[in-house]
C-alpha cells in the first residue's frame, strides 16, 4: 500500500498485481494527466500520451474519472480557449474589433503572463480574476440593457467545449459517480467527507486532490495515474493510500523528500 510506481516500472508492477485475485482491470485518471494531453510543449506530454495508449489501453485497462477531474479538465480548457481567443484580438493582423479598453487590458495582461512564461515557464492561461476584469470591459451601455459578453463567450466557447467533451468520451474515459445506482459496483466503500479530510490532513493536500485520492480508496481499483507532485507526496506520506503511478520525472523528483520509495 502507498507505493509510488514510475511509468518505466509499470510493466513489472502490472504483471505482479494483475494476477492478484482482488485486482480489477481499471484505473482512475487524475486531472493533471488529462491536462497534460493539452500541451504539446510540456516535457511530459508525449510520455503520458504514449504511456496511456501503450500500457493502459494496450493492457485493456479501463480509465475512469470522477466529478472533480472532469470538471477541472473542462474548466482549464475553457480558460485556455478564452485566453487564446482574447489574445488573438491584440494581434496586429486581427480583424476582431474589440473596444480599446478591452484590448488595452488584454495587452497588459498578456505582457505580464509572457514575462512569467519566459522567466518561470508558467503557462499563459488567464486567471479567473483576470478573465472577470476583461469581462467587465465588455459591459453594454447603461441604457442598452444588452449583454455583449455572454454572446461573445457563446461564440468563443459554445461549439468548441462540446467537441472537446465528445472527444473525451470517445477516448473511452468513463465518468463514474458513487451516487449513480448503475455504478455502485465500482465502489466498495461509501465516500464520506471525513475520509477526504483525513487524507488532506495527512500531508496538507488540497481538498480537491484529497477527493480524488478518496475516490481511489473507496473504489475497487488498485492504482491511480497522476502527474501531480502533491498527490505523489501525499501517497508517500500516508501508508494507507493505494498505489499511484507517475511519470518518471515526477518519480525522480520525489526522491528529494527522502521517503522510502
Amino acid at each position: 500500500m502507498g507505493r509510488l510506481i514510475s511509468f518505466s516500472g509499470f510493466d513489472a508492477y502490472y504483471s505482479k498485481t494483475s494476477i492478484e485475485s482482488s485486482f480489477v482491470n481499471g484505473t482512475i485518471l487524475d486531472t493533471n494527466i488529462l491536462i497534460s494531453l493539452m500541451y504539446e510543449v510540456k516535457l511530459t506530454h508525449d510520455e503520458i500520451v504514449n504511456f496511456l495508449d501503450e500500457k493502459i489501453v494496450g493492457n485493456g485497462i479501463s480509465c475512469y474519472t470522477n466529478v472533480i477531474t472532469t470538471a477541472e479538465f473542462l474548466n482549464i480548457f475553457r480558460r485556455i480557449l478564452l485566453t487564446e481567443h482574447l489574445c488573438d484580438s491584440i494581434d496586429e493582423f486581427s480583424k476582431l474589433n474589440f473596444p480599446k479598453k478591452s484590448k488595452y487590458l488584454i495587452k497588459r495582461l498578456y505582457g505580464e503572463y509572457k514575462h512569467r512564461f519566459d522567466h518561470e515557464k508558467k503557462d499563459i492561461i488567464f486567471a479567473e480574476s483576470h478573465l472577470k476584469q476583461i469581462r467587465d470591459t465588455f459591459s453594454g451601455s447603461a441604457h442598452s440593457g444588452l449583454k455583449p459578453w455572454p454572446e461573445l463567450t457563446q461564440e468563443l466557447l459554445g461549439d468548441e467545449l462540446e467537441v472537446v467533451y465528445k472527444a473525451y468520451e470517445k477516448a473511452g474515459i468513463i465518468y463514474i459517480s458513487p451516487n449513480e445506482d448503475n455504478q455502485k459496483h465500482y465502489f466498495n466503500k461509501k465516500m464520506i467527507w471525513e475520509d477526504t479530510i483525513k487524507i488532506s490532513a495527512s500531508s496538507g493536500l488540497a481538498i480537491f486532490d484529497a477527493m480524488i485520492l478518496n475516490a481511489l480508496q473507496c473504489s475497487h481499483f488498485s492504482f491511480l495515474i497522476t502527474a501531480d507532485v502533491d498527490i505523489a507526496y501525499a501517497t508517500l506520506a500516508n501508508c494507507e493510500i493505494k498505489d499511484v503511478v507517475v511519470p518518471d520525472s515526477i518519480f525522480k523528483e520525489m526522491k528529494k523528500y527522502n521517503f522510502k520509495i
Binding site: 494531453l37 493539452m38 504539446e40 506530454h45 503520458i48 500520451v49 504514449n50 496511456l52 495508449d53 489501453v57 494496450g58 480548457f77 485556455i80 480557449l81 487564446e84 481567443h85 488573438d88 480583424k95 476582431l96 474589433n97 474589440f98 473596444p99 480599446k100 479598453k101 465588455f138 459591459s139 453594454g140 451601455s141 442598452s144 444588452l146 449583454k147 455583449p148 454572446e151 461573445l152 461564440e155 468563443l156 468548441e160 467537441v163 472537446v164 472527444a167 473525451y168 470517445k170 477516448a171 473511452g172
Partner: protein, 65 residues
Amino acid sequence: MSEIKKKTPFRDLANTLKSVRQKPLSKKQIEKINSIIKRDIEEDTEEVVPIKKIAISKKEEQSLQ
C-alpha cells in the same frame, strides 16, 4: 496479411485538443462578434473619421440646404 492498427485513443484525444486550440475564428464568427460589440458598446471601436472628411461632409450638408 494486413497489419492490425493499434488503438491510440489518447493520441487521438490529444490531436483533437490541439486542433480545437489551433482553429481560428471563422470570418462569420468575427463579423458576428464585431457586430455585437458595435451594437452594444458605445465606445471607441468605430473607425476614426478624419477631420478633413467631416469638413467635406459638412460642406455637402450646407450645399444641400
